[in-house]
């Protein structure tokens, strides 16, 4: 179900916790699985449940509680724009509007070609770099302006 690279990464996480607490690695395991698969299908979550000795429902609970897990398929590039107050003061709304217009989608939607999903985010603990967004959860683009947004979309389209 998961590649041996992903399993090795999960094992490294499991080793951080007491032997009888494998469940503690579930958040990392889901993250690692999502990087490989793009989203968390029930099959993937069932596999992780089995791997960590958890009930599948306990894994679903975790995956649906935390915002960064994709429990539905998303576009190749998920863009998450922070619109919380400090970012808003720095022009996050204009960035969000620009993205909506360029991509032709609203928050929570995926482009027809399945390249981009746009979502609204909450404070990422980086408000000094506002406005900003996350690409596929792990890459932060800071101090955005309209030109940077254009350049980012061009770069991602090529990938």
């Amino acid at each position: 179900m998961l590649s041996s690279e992903s399993l090795a990464l999960i094992d490294k996480e499991v080793a951080k916790y007491p032997a009888e607490q494998r469940q503690s690695a579930v958040m990392s395991a889901l993250r690692i699985a999502q990087v490989e698969k793009g989203w968390l299908s029930n099959e993937v979550m069932d596999f992780i449940a089995h791997y960590l000795g958890m009930q599948p429902i306990a894994v679903y609970e975790v995956a649906t509680f935390y915002n960064m897990y994709n429990t539905q398929p998303v576009g190749k590039h998920k863009l998450c724009v922070c619109t919380n107050l400090p970012c808003k003061l720095m022009g996050a709304d204009a960035i969000a509007e620009k993205l909506k217009k360029k991509l032709g989608v609203e928050f929570g939607e995926t482009t027809e070609d399945k390249q981009f999903t746009l979502v609204e985010g909450e404070c990422m603990g980086a408000c000094g770099d506002a406005p900003l967004l996350l690409v596929n959860n792990h890459r932060m683009e800071s101090f955005l302006n309209e030109e940077k947004v254009e350049a980012l979309l061009d770069e991602l389209k090529g990938k």
């Binding site: 951080k16 916790y17 007491p18 607490q21 469940q23 503690s24 690695a25 579930v26 958040m27 990392s28 889901l30 993250r31 960590l52 958890m54 306990a58 609970e61 975790v62 509680f65 935390y66 915002n67 960064m68 897990y69 619109t83 919380n84 107050l85 400090p86 808003k88 003061l89 720095m90 985010g121 909450e122 404070c123 990422m124 603990g125 980086a126 408000c127 000094g128 770099d129 506002a130 996350l134 959860n137 792990h138 890459r139 932060m140």
Partner: protein
């Protein structure tokens, strides 16, 4: 973004590769740990030093750290834990990220000293989900410390063993609440626990646990190296030390500033380059989004410390200073904050789950010109009925911004309701 160094937290900033172990050591890093291990300093002595320093928790509540440490049943047989709260997600706060980025070893040394003092053999550092590169950087820093013999079994031949692990969150503000954070490390959804029992008796995996903020732990090496008295004197009585202030919003130079507690707000604002574009200061949220807003005039008379900001009717919280100029509509600002608490409520308690939704919907309709004359009283009442009636402090955190806005900017809300539009 600007980062202004200081003696306690950002003491390696002037060095190239400030985050490296060698940089930290050359600035005196790990000397406190070495001394403690060599001299087998008694835990009571360390706790007394931390008490002298008047270090107050940097995570939001400002609880005295020495006192918190004294609650830990150190002699209790079996496992005990120290946990670092790096789940910084309180809107406006971005200091812990820069501690981990620019001086991760101050945090690591602080946690090892805490582990030694509190009888813990392991520590976990819970890192906010959205800053994956910081998580990776912390993983490298921990590896570096392990390779140098500061972490692991029998540290520096002292017989003391301590391991430290990073745990990566994945997008839930509520996990900043300490018991939700523990649930999350246990691999569950992050729903806060009923208290008591408190973590000092029933914490991670049911074992005695002490939880502190990143900046709190990162202040410990200085205190043990230079002495609690010297730390205290950096700040003011009851408010020891320097503190990081994350200044965001309408300033010329947003950033993290390490300054003495008790520094006048006007000075901090000046360091941050003043209000952007030379406009006028309107209001400040002085301690993260949960802190009640204060009008600029009041802030200009405040000093940046727990007591002064509390006296002015707000709180220093995490030290996140959100600056708003005259162009900001307070109804819109509150609408966004109320949405945040509604979105992030974990849903366990009815007053919080229902109340946050209610407050958001009412502020939303006021902002959109559909406010009703009775709405402000409704907001007062919903806020009052959440505060103090929930399992965790998120309920209060949602109510306080509403109460602060209605206290100081009621006229803007009334104007919105009456004229169906904004006055700014």
């Amino acid at each position: 973004m600007v980062i202004q160094g200081g003696p306690v937290i950002f003491n390696t900033l002037h060095l190239s590769d400030s985050w490296k172990l060698s940089s930290y050591e050359s600035a005196g890093g790990y000397s406190a740990l070495k001394k403690i291990l060599a001299e087998k300093t008694p835990a009571e002595t360390i706790i007394a030093e931390v008490k002298t320093s008047a270090l107050r928790g940097r995570g939001g509540a400002g609880f005295p750290t020495g006192l918190k440490w004294s609650f830990m049943p150190r002699q209790f047989p079996g496992d005990k834990y120290v946990v670092c709260n790096s789940d910084e997600g309180e809107p406006g706060t971005f200091k812990d990220r820069d501690i981990m980025r620019y001086n991760p070893h101050a945090l690591i040394e602080g946690m090892i000293i805490a582990g030694y003092t509190l009888g813990a053999k392991a520590g976990y550092n819970y890192i906010h989900g959205e800053i994956f590169d910081i998580y990776e950087g912390m993983e490298r820093a921990v590896e570096e410390a392990r390779a140098a013999g500061y972490l692991g079994d029998n540290i520096l031949g002292s017989g003391f063993s301590f391991n430290l692990y990073n745990h990566h969150g994945y997008g839930a503000y509520i996990c900043g609440e300490e018991t939700a954070l523990l649930e999350s490390i246990e691999g569950k959804k992050g729903q806060p626990r009923f208290k008591p029992p408190f973590p000092a008796s029933f914490g991670l995996y049911g074992k005695p646990t002490t939880i502190n903020n990143t900046e709190t732990f990162a202040s410990i090496p200085y205190i043990m190296r230079e002495g609690g008295q010297k730390f205290l004197e950096l700040g003011k009585p009851n408010n020891g030390g320097t503190k990081l202030f994350s200044v965001s919003g309408h300033v010329e130079k947003p950033g993290n500033y390490e300054v003495s507690l008790g520094t006048p707000f006007s000075e901090l604002l000046q360091m941050a380059g003043g209000i952007k574009g030379g406009r006028k200061l309107k209001a400040v949220i002085p301690g993260g989004s949960s802190a009640p807003v204060l009008p600029g005039e009041i802030m200009m008379d405040c000093t940046m410390d727990f007591d002064s900001i509390a006296k002015a009717g707000s709180m220093l919280g995490s030290g996140a200073v959100i600056v708003m100029d005259e162009s900001v509509c307070m109804v819109r600002a509150l609408e966004r904050l109320s949405y945040f608490y509604f979105e992030e409520s974990c849903g366990q308690c009815t007053p919080c789950r229902e109340g946050t939704g209610w407050m958001y919907r009412v502020v939303h309709r006021i902002e959109h010109g559909q406010g009703r004359p009775e709405d402000l009283e409704l907001l007062d009442s919903v806020a009052a009925n959440i505060a103090g009636r929930t399992i965790c402090a998120l309920g209060d955190a949602a109510a306080m911004p509403v109460q602060g806005m209605l206290k100081h900017y009621r006229h803007e809300f009334e104007h919105h309701i009456e004229h169906k539009k904004c006055m700014v």
